[in-house]
Amino acid sequence: MYDFTYQKPSSIADAVKLLAEPEAKALAGGQTFIPVLKQRLNKPSTLVDLAGLGLAGIKAEGDKITIGAMTTHGAIAASPEIKKAIPGLSMMAGWIGDTQVRHCGTMGGSLANNDPSACYPAAVLALNATIVTDKRRIGADEYFQGMFTTALATDELITSIEFALPVEKSAYEKFRNPASRYAMVGVFVAKSAAGVRVAVTGASQNGVFRHTEMEQALSGNWSPDAIAHIKTPPGGLNSDIHGSAEYRAHLITVMAKRAVAAAS
């Protein structure tokens, strides 16, 4: 780790001001960022700890669930409201990393980082959630812009994520990297007011993406058989020592079928 200045502001305004400094970085749950610092892959001038901003918490209202950006995966997995309204999201949160990661890592941190193998981007995209920042509201389709790239400005903070209700069906299936538990391929399927949406994470070099061919097939017939024949072209998919692009393409169909079956 390189030396840096540590700040823990108590208001969003102060946090944003600190983040406007060159090379200032925000610290949420730190489950990605602290290992990055330890390996000296990043050299921030100031670390702005977001833990004092009061951004954690889950609020269920009639037509939406609002999840504060600093809410941990553990809290999301344990929430009875989320389990009832969006079981797929509950399942996803309970399946991230290990116990320690789930008790520190946050949804806002994960979404701001937009790791191409992270889980939440698939849920947010498939459920057409809204990313609420200190400045504006961003739709999921606009928010994700490629590997580690989002619509956020450098001094813009996610404050919460809104999921519109009702969600008729939702489920997530992932094939985990055996060491990191990151998604080699994760597929979130959802049927809600936004229609049928299928989001795939872990597979593409450009991060999370919607599988429109599967969405169309499932719109007419919500069953694993409806998508069994769909083959994803391996071009543009990740290929590494853990699995070839061809294998990941194969996994997309298998994971999608299993998710549809789980949500039936």
Binding site: P178, A179, S180, H242, G243, E246
Partner: protein, 730 residues
């Protein structure tokens, strides 16, 4: 009294280990110690043309920056056992990516690391050959195969002619990857000089080898080198030789005139102390219609470094020469040099890779012949060693097949691939034979009988975590009629009587006879003292028995304390020295491996779901540590079959997965309940206790048993390890 040998005695060093009291090489509190960090080449081939040490030397706390330009000149080690023959830091040539090119010493580890990263090296880069498969046409004959003791090739009968004429044939090529040992304890050394004498605390499988190698390299008598290593956190072969990091630590300590510590990082463990080399093996088997083997040909190639680093040939064909009865057998070994570090022994060297090829081919032959795989092996059972033309000292392999098959339920197997299922999940059953030589080498030990009846004993051997402390304690307890609790066995110090390195499953068969001989010598001295006493008039040594610190005779007893007090002695010392194995017999252990796999047909995920291994390993000195060895070896084999592979970047010759996140080893969910069976039998030809080492045997044959099970489950024959999930998708 019941024998203590054989009982499942808890490890005598167990409490120390779980409480953190066992001291490993890096943990010795040596006053004034300073820290070293290695610098490694970033190119695979070429020459260092410039070294700029100015920035590093000016940094705070830096004590020395040692490079080929200012390194002490070392004497080449031409001594027999060591694989590593080229001294380090002696010239500017770079032969692999990761070669040690400098060592930096500073007062703290952080400062040494910072200075190491400030060193600037300029290279003239040459064309590098980074992968074996791109250079198979350059294969050459090993020059010192098995230390020069035999030819790399062997022939009996005419394998090629018999193959051509045969009815049923298998002709296939099998490949195994580079694997790294990855013991829990990374290699570490602390060195301290006192004039021209050096003390080295180092993680090693052979204190004696380290003593002699360092003495040669630094041009001092072996007696001036003391090597201390009471505990080893796993070796598996990578601590079997004295590798450059240990040598460089001693060099650095001499240079700075203070004790120096060097501990390798996990990443450095991939470039600094060997690996199991990649192999490409062509196997041809031929049988008559009745399933009797008529020809075996095994042409093995293994990957080497550039030849000037030393020589290590993976002896993949040795088991092939003796495992089955067959009149026509040809075996060859060749090497393919690439710009890579020097390979070395890794658990079951030769057999682990070679038996994968042979036993996969045997399974293919069984399929071609439509004969049950166990039955095929029984039809080709070798009653004697047809290669050495000698009888086996003990061979209970038939019992291994029988007891293993029965425990596994083999008779319920439907031979057709894809025929056994649990819902959608495919089930496969496979088996393979295991074998490993039973080795023994000269060893010495000493034993002291003390006045209070307790015993202190020692030998310059090692405990790799396998249980040497415990089993030698048991041997002494039986020999001297004393509770194991009153025995203290010490090892891992070169001031003790010498013993061989712990590799090749040699320790039990080598050291236990020396310990027994030392006990006998001590007992004999004690009895002589008693018989010289007037109170013992009329007795002979045959009347005397030592138990719990008292020598018992008919109607008389002689407490040890009194005998020693009368003789004016603090203790009675016995020394034992024993030789290698007797000739005349072929010495091997055997086993039968049975695996069940479950394969998800959608994902290709392979799980080993049941496992039975039955082993013929002579007398087992401790049922608990012995069983642990079997479980550990089988687990190692599961890693070889399904997970382990070091990947090389062809462009740079660098290992890309040099960490435990991406070099996959088996973890708990990968390992099923393992049932182990020791087939009864003792091997008194090898050593008086009838015991054999079992470090390597249990991992031999695991990979082919699993590969054969995967074939049975899926119908897909995978000849290239590790078996990947992609391989079995239709």
């Amino acid at each position: 009294m019941d024998a203590i040998v054989g009982q499942p005695l808890d490890r005598v060093d167990g409490r120390l280990k779980v409480t953190g009291g066992a001291r490993y090489a890096a943990e010795f509190p040596v006053p004034g110690v300073v820290h070293a960090v290695l610098v490694q080449s970033s190119v695979a081939a070429g020459e260092i043309v410039a070294i700029d040490t100015s920035a590093a030397e000016g940094m705070p706390g830096v004590l020395a920056v040692i490079t080929p330009e200012n390194a002490e000149k070392l004497q080449a080690d031409k001594g027999g056992e060591q694989v590593v023959s080229r001294p380090t830091l002696q010239d500017m040539q770079v032969l692999y990516n990761g070669q040690h090119v400098a060592i930096v010493v500073a007062d703290t580890l952080d400062r040494a690391q910072a200075a190491a990263s400030a060193l600037k090296l300029t290279y003239k880069q040459d064309e590098a050959v980074t992968t074996m498969d791109s250079a198979l046409n350059t294969a050459y004959r090993p020059k010192h195969f098995r230390g020069g003791a035999r030819s790399p090739d062997s022939n009996r009968g005419d394998a090629d002619a018999a193959f051509d004429a045969a009815a049923v044939k298998v002709d296939a090529t099998y490949r195994t990857p580079i694997e790294h040992h990855n013991p829990m304890e990374p290699h570490a050394t602390i060195a301290r000089w006192d004039g021209d004498r050096v003390t080295v605390w180092t993680a090693t499988q052979g204190i004696s080898g380290a003593q002699h190698t360092l003495a040669t390299l630094f041009g001092i008598p072996p007696a001036n080198v003391r090597v201390i290593c009471p505990y080893v956190g796993g070796g598996f072969g990578c601590k079997g030789s004295t590798w450059p990091p240990a040598t460089l630590t001693a060099m650095a300590a001499r240079k700075v005139g203070r004790p120096v510590k060097l501990s390798l990082t996990r990443r450095q463990m991939f470039t600094s102390n060997g690996y199991r080399p990649r192999t490409v093996q062509k196997v041809k088997l031929a049988a008559d219609a009745g399933g009797k083997l008529v020809a075996i040909r095994h042409d093995g190639m293994s990957q080497m470094s550039m030849p000037s680093l030393g020589e290590f040939a993976e002896p993949v064909g040795l088991a092939t020469e003796m495992l089955y009865s067959c009149p026509n057998v040809a075996v060859t070994h060749r090497l393919v040099g690439v710009n890579a570090p020097l390979p070395t022994y890794m658990r079951a060297p030769g057999e682990a890779s070679g038996v994968f090829a042979l036993e996969s081919a045997m399974d293919e032959l069984a399929v071609a012949l439509r004969i049950d795989p166990v039955e095929l092996r029984l039809r080709n059972y070798a009653d004697g060693d047809e290669h050495e033309d000698k009888p086996f000292s003990l061979k209970n392999l038939r019992e291994c097949y029988r007891q293993g098959a029965e425990a596994f339920g083999w008779s319920q197997r439907n031979p057709a691939p894809r025929s056994m299922r649990d819902g959608r999940v495919l089930i496969g059953w496979g088996m393979a034979t295991s074998t490993y030589p039973a080795n023994r080498r000269p060893a010495e030990a000493l034993v002291r009988l003390q006045a209070d009846g307790s015993v202190v004993a020692g030998s310059g051997t090692q405990d790799l975590g396998t249980g040497t402390y415990t089993v030698m304690t048991q041997v002494i307890a039986d020999e001297l009629g004393v509770s194991p609790r009153r025995v203290r066995f010490v090892l891992g110090d070169s001031t003790l009587p010498p013993a061989p390195g712990s590799g090749g499953s040699t320790t039990v068969a080598s050291v236990s006879p020396a310990v027994q001989a030392a006990c006998a010598a001590a007992r004999q001295k004690l009895f002589s003292l008693i018989l010289a006493d007037p109170q013992a008039a009329g007795l002979t040594s045959a009347d005397l028995r030592l138990a719990n610190g008292v020598v018992l005779a008919p109607a008389r007893r002689f407490p040890l304390s009194q005998v020693l007090a009368r003789a004016g002695l603090e203790y009675i010392e016995g020394r034992g020295k024993t030789e290698g194995p007797p000739g005349g017999h072929s010495l091997h252990s055997f086993g039968a491996q049975f695996a069940e796999v479950r394969v998800d047909p959608d994902l290709g995920e392979i799980r080993v779901s049941r496992y039975v291994g039955a082993f013929d390993a002579g007398r087992i000195l401790n049922a608990k540590t012995g069983r642990s060895q079997l479980i550990g070896g089988i687990t190692y084999g599961i890693g070889m079959a399904l997970l382990e592979e070091t990947a090389t970047d062809a462009e740079t010759g660098r290992y890309v997965n040099a960490d435990l996140a991406e070099y996959l080893v088996p973890v708990h969910p990968d390992v099923p309940l393992i049932r182990t069976i020791f087939v009864a039998g003792e091997d008194p030809v090898l050593d008086p206790l009838g015991a054999r080492g079992i470090g390597e045997l249990p991992m031999v044959g695991v990979a082919p048993a699993i590969a054969n099970a995967v074939y049975h489950a899926t119908g897909v024959r995978v000849r290239d390890l590790p078996i990947r999930i992609e391989d079995v998708l239709g």
